[in-house]
Amino acid sequence: MSEVRILEITRNVVARNDELAQTLRTRFGEARLAVFNLLSAPGSGKTTLLERTLRELHGRVRCLVIEGDLRTARDAQRIAAAGGRAVQIVTHGTCHLESRMIQGAIEGIDLRELDAIIIENVGNLVCPSSFDLGESARVVLASVTEGEDKPAKYPFMFEKASAIVLNKIDLLPHLSFDRKEFWDGVDCVNRSATRVELSCATGEGFDGWISWFMAKVSAARGNETAPASKR
């Protein structure tokens, strides 16, 4: 004889990812590392932002870049050409990075030889926001060519950001992009994030980004324990 039992439970399906992310966050904290999770739509300029950042910080900050890409190692090659150290994760079609991929990427790397890790997530404004990677700061990059309605359409992506960077402002004279509408959309879900407008092409506004980045690196260097609250 068999019976049918109904199990009323509540199990968060991404809980295992979150637990591993927390373990990574502790490790990064112990190594005094600032870890940035960089999120954007495809084509917002994530890799270009990193190339310029690495050039500016050359000799000042020891950075490792973890590149998430669907198919190719092209971005990692660009980072290496900019003088950066890069590890490529080819996700083979998966639309986001998970903490176990980060764990695999840093295997064999001496974290004490680093000051910062920048994780370039897969270009996607939906899925990556659900997956904590153990980062100390989440950076959302948007560009003026994408339209001002991105924060309103994808509030979840902007909600947890520590910094929101608006790129390609050199193109503003050629577009009808409404900056106020963009930042009003951000206001609805996130009033605490640092806001930067810049152009990776001309360098306009880039100082603001670098000083925010350096403040995070300095804060991590000064802390022996994990900055767990700075999600």
């Binding site: 068999s2 199990r11 399906v13 991404v14 996607n124 659900s130 979840f156 609805c188």
Partner: protein, 123 residues
């Protein structure tokens, strides 16, 4: 787009749940799993159902239905704290009108109910 990895995680969680209730080794079979999926969770219900049909083969959930309960996006007004739904065209607090809000519901990816068929003597 990450529905297959979600489906696999669900199978692992259900198997662990059943195993813990049947003395270590999962016994019996699962007839139905009910999940609550928030509309902001980035999950396409049809894609998840399809991934489920593929992933369940050869597991304790082989043949089990996947029922999806879709949870609305719910926001909490930063001024008065009341909650209100966010539709595709946006939303605003009924008391305060357009104002800052935080999203308090709509990201759920949860297993809520498992229908498990098992021999009676198993405790």
């Amino acid at each position: 787009m990450h529905e297959l990895s979600i489906a696999v995680s669900v199978l692992e969680s259900v198997e662990a749940e059943i195993a813990s209730r049947s003395g270590g080794t999962p016994r019996g079979s699962v007839r139905e799993v009910t999940m609550r999926i928030g509309r902001l969770a980035g999950i396409e219900p049809e894609a998840l159902s399809f991934a489920w049909e593929v992933a369940r083969r050869g597991t304790i959930c082989d043949g089990a239905e996947l029922a999806l309960d879709l949870a609305p996006v719910v926001a909490s007004c930063s001024l008065c704290g009341s909650t209100f739904p966010i539709e595709s065209e946006g939303g605003a607090c009924g008391n305060c009108g357009p104002a800052a809000f935080s999203i308090v519901g709509g990201r759920e990816i949860e297993i809520r109910r498992v229908m498990w068929e098992v021999e009676e003597e198993v405790r």
